[in-house]
Subunit: 338 residues, 2 copies
């Protein structure tokens, strides 16, 4: 069955624009509207009944628990969850846990009491015991992005270690001789996997020392602080692999402030593929996770469980992709060799 | 009573850091932790019982309905709502409506059926009739940011028209001779108020023509598209007031792509005060709304209504502030006149 995402892709517009056409909202120009309508016809796309009114519909609701609403990666996952949920007439409640265990526990309790239909959870803190009351209440749970080590739950994640390897190999390929890593907090499995990917490559080189890893929070401020320390401790680094894109944004800002040219003095690669990495000068090379697809896959898995279409648990590990941009295009302004 | 925000301010750290100290999470260095503890003692701050465990607590839940989770302005409002809610032992469900009327209606119905305690809503579509079922169910509602014209609800908003006037007067003061406006969709009262503020000033000038206003969506892509049209239609514009910061980010990106120097060819001012405006080169001048405080005020009003401490409706209009940055600092690199 075609999804709203397929229509958007076929018409070369955003999902929001397709939504606007379906709902006859403002500010879709005629030409775009026509493209969307043609794409809907070609793909035999039927907007869900929810999209066209609520008459007689059962109100289903799933929850998505995210650790940090201010990191665009998580709203990106939510976008995928929400579009699939809409397709199947589900509402989505977002629960922003701030990665705090007590907030997560509180949400789990309230979701159970409010008889939510299902839950997609992104968490480092929650374990099987804490999810047991939901299992008892017959509320299915899918683990997204940061699964705990557990066989009884379906998991959707991306290949974090592979992505880190791609980042470091790219920095080596463009000629970097000493590559540092801004690592996220060790309690996050995603941060650990990316750090391990980095170490797996660089530990083979004589220039490697553990002081090339700087831990920080997965945010802009974390990236800034880590760069300050890295540059002070390692005067000769010429490449940085940041553990996520927010860190990379902070790192770029701080490198410019320190008078470094990016990429010629220090090349920079992030991780996630959030669109903010395209707004900076230079734009930031990154390892793109299939963010929307991860959210969509988690929602589809949950809804199929709810409908009884699948009963087994499964792990879906999605591939990541290197997106090369200005922050690693060393010497791009030099004339081509003739 | 001191709030977690007061503690953060006194300690010179973020609210998240104070949360980490309270909850003994990782990655707070000793020095920072000490600062936070001292600030908590000086302010006689008591973390809410929720912050220290859930034993015996009633589970209260409010909902916050936002139109666009991908615009950091709304997560910023959510931050203020959530911190106050936590202080009073309330959970917050976020409902991302994508500004679609049918999603909002669906959420209103589900929130009523799930017996949510109260609702803060940011919407252009919802009217008094649609909120009537919540009123009948004794679920109080506070309107945030984009109120409809209604006396029966408490409202928290900022002074949008004044902010627009400040933006245009600033652009005039730095010597702009022809100022364009990228306006948000007319259906948003915030967009209309900002456009009216702009027109109120510029309509006095002989250079003003209506082609200096370009409407677009309140997002990065909208800013890019509008700039392309404005520059094509008005070759001599030297200042742009963008209706929100996402548009300003897109506008800056596009201006650079078109080979324009910002601010020397075209100066640029946004509206909202989201932190992304500090990440670009140049950083973007903006009209800063008190985003966190707006969210906090809405939550406090709702919770006081729930506790029966206030019964009347009131309108809280918060002031905005001009934040001058590189995108309007024309000729900054020139030597000072002697």
């Amino acid at each position: 069955m075609a999804t709203i995402r397929d229509v958007a892709k076929a018409a070369g517009v955003s999902v929001a624009t397709v939504s606007r056409v379906i709902n006859k909202n403002e500010y879709v120009n005629k030409e775009t509207e026509q493209k969307v309508i043609v794409a809907m016809q070609e793909l035999h796309y039927e907007p869900s009944s929810l999209a066209r009114g609520l008459a007689g519909k059962k109100m289903n609701t799933i929850a998505l628990m995210i650790p940090d609403i201010s990191n665009p990666f998580f709203p990106g996952l939510a976008r995928g969850v929400e579009d699939v949920a809409q397709q199947y007439d589900f509402n989505v409640f977002l629960c922003n846990s701030d990665d705090l265990a007590y907030k997560e526990k509180s949400y789990l309790e309230i979701l159970r009491k409010k008889s939510i239909d299902g839950l997609i959870i992104i968490s480092n803190n929650v374990n099987e015991e804490e999810l047991e009351p939901l299992r008892m209440a017959n509320i299915p749970v899918v683990l997204l992005d940061r699964p705990f080590n557990e066989q009884n739950y379906s998991v959707v994640r991306s290949n974090n270690r592979n992505g880190a390897i791609m980042a470091v190999e790219h920095l080596l390929a463009i000629g970097c001789k000493k590559i540092a890593h801004i690592a996220g907090p060790e309690k996050f499995v995603t941060a650990r996997e990316r750090r391990l990917g980095y170490e797996g490559i660089v530990s083979q080189y004589s220039w490697y020392t553990p002081s090339l890893i700087e831990h920080a929070n997965f945010d802009i401020e974390g990236g800034k602080q880590a760069v300050t320390k890295l540059v002070a401790n390692n005067t000769d680094i010429d490449g940085i692999f940041a553990g996520n894109d927010l860190m990379a944004l902070g790192a770029l800002k701080q490198l410019i402030k320190l008078g470094k040219n990016v990429p010629d003095d220090i090349a920079l690669c992030g991780f996630d593929g959030i669109s903010l990495t395209e707004l900076t000068q230079p734009e930031i090379t990154t390892i793109q996770q299939p963010i929307y697809e991860m959210g969509a896959a988690a929602a589809l898995t949950l809804i199929k469980k709810l409908k009884g279409e699948i009963t087994e648990t499964k792990i879906q590990e999605l591939d990541v992709k290197l997106i090369i941009r200005g922050s690693t295009e060393k010497g791009k302004k030099l004339p081509l060799a003739t």
